[in-house]
Amino acid sequence: MKSEPYKRKPGDFEIRILNDGKVVMIAPDETLIEVAHAVEPSKNIMPSKKGDKKECRKSNQRNRVKN
């Protein structure tokens, strides 16, 4: 593992696993949100591409910050 922090390039995903076990997704795009839903569907709602309602993990949406 490199000692320097990784610098994202355009198109890279970044997921952080914090000490307390929380998973933080940085600026998730649609694909990443769908992946998160597949990993742990729970409380929040997101639609599928067809417009149906699905559940989505709350933390995925909470941890997105605009510049």
């Binding site: 610098k7 600026a27 997101m46 910050v65």
Partner: protein
Amino acid sequence: MNDMDYQVHREAFERAKLAREALTNCNLCPHQCNIDRTAGEKGYCGLDDTVRCFREMLYYGEESELVPSHQIHFAGCNLRCEFCVVAEWNELPSVAKEIDFDDMAKTIARRQSEGARTLNFLGGEPAVNLHGILQLLGRVESKIKVVWNSNMYYNDIVDKLTMGLIDVYLADFKCGNNSCAEGLLGASNYMEIVKENILKAAGHADVIIRHVVMPGHSKCCLKPILEWLAEKMPKVKLSLRSNYVPPVKAISAPKEYLKQEDMQNVVDLAKSMGLKLTK
């Protein structure tokens, strides 16, 4: 297309021409690069006159009254926030794909059919992509609210050319003093400019003030913002966000995540000042 739509489209195209003219000696934002972006020169934002989009999606993480929101992320920004989570696109906007306006107009229509309640222009920063956004507005039907999701750090021309075409200004009020703004965002005279633009926007559209609470910046940033809002815009919708993400290599920016108890204190403070919180 009805008469109202036609007028909106024509107005947007006319304004797009004016915005493009402004690029020939670009002073859309306070950096006032005074370069000719139409001749291929690139300003502080890293942009010439090409309009680039790095992401479009239906998103549920915006304020509840806006979701589902069709986000269109434009590459390039006039701030250099140390904690920016899409910095890779703003440092190198030229790698993002150039927008095909007709295709994007079709995408906007599709997203509306998928349930989008708002059309959300963000970035990067929409202000430095003003000419492109106006061109886009000239191509789409105004069935849903249009959101200007901005850092509000721009010159008067941006307010003038967006007035009447934007329904909601989602104003990201990041810092509460010029020293923090200089160090964290790379912005001079930040407070004066952002406050003025927020007040102008409130004069002709809905405004939601968003503030991402930064650990350790309660007294210097959060409190002055809340106090100013309580005095000048006591009825404005305020969205306090707890989703600060520390950069992996923080220099001036906070290195930690916000604690849940700290966020509760922030919410209590805002409520004690009579501010109207929105989620």
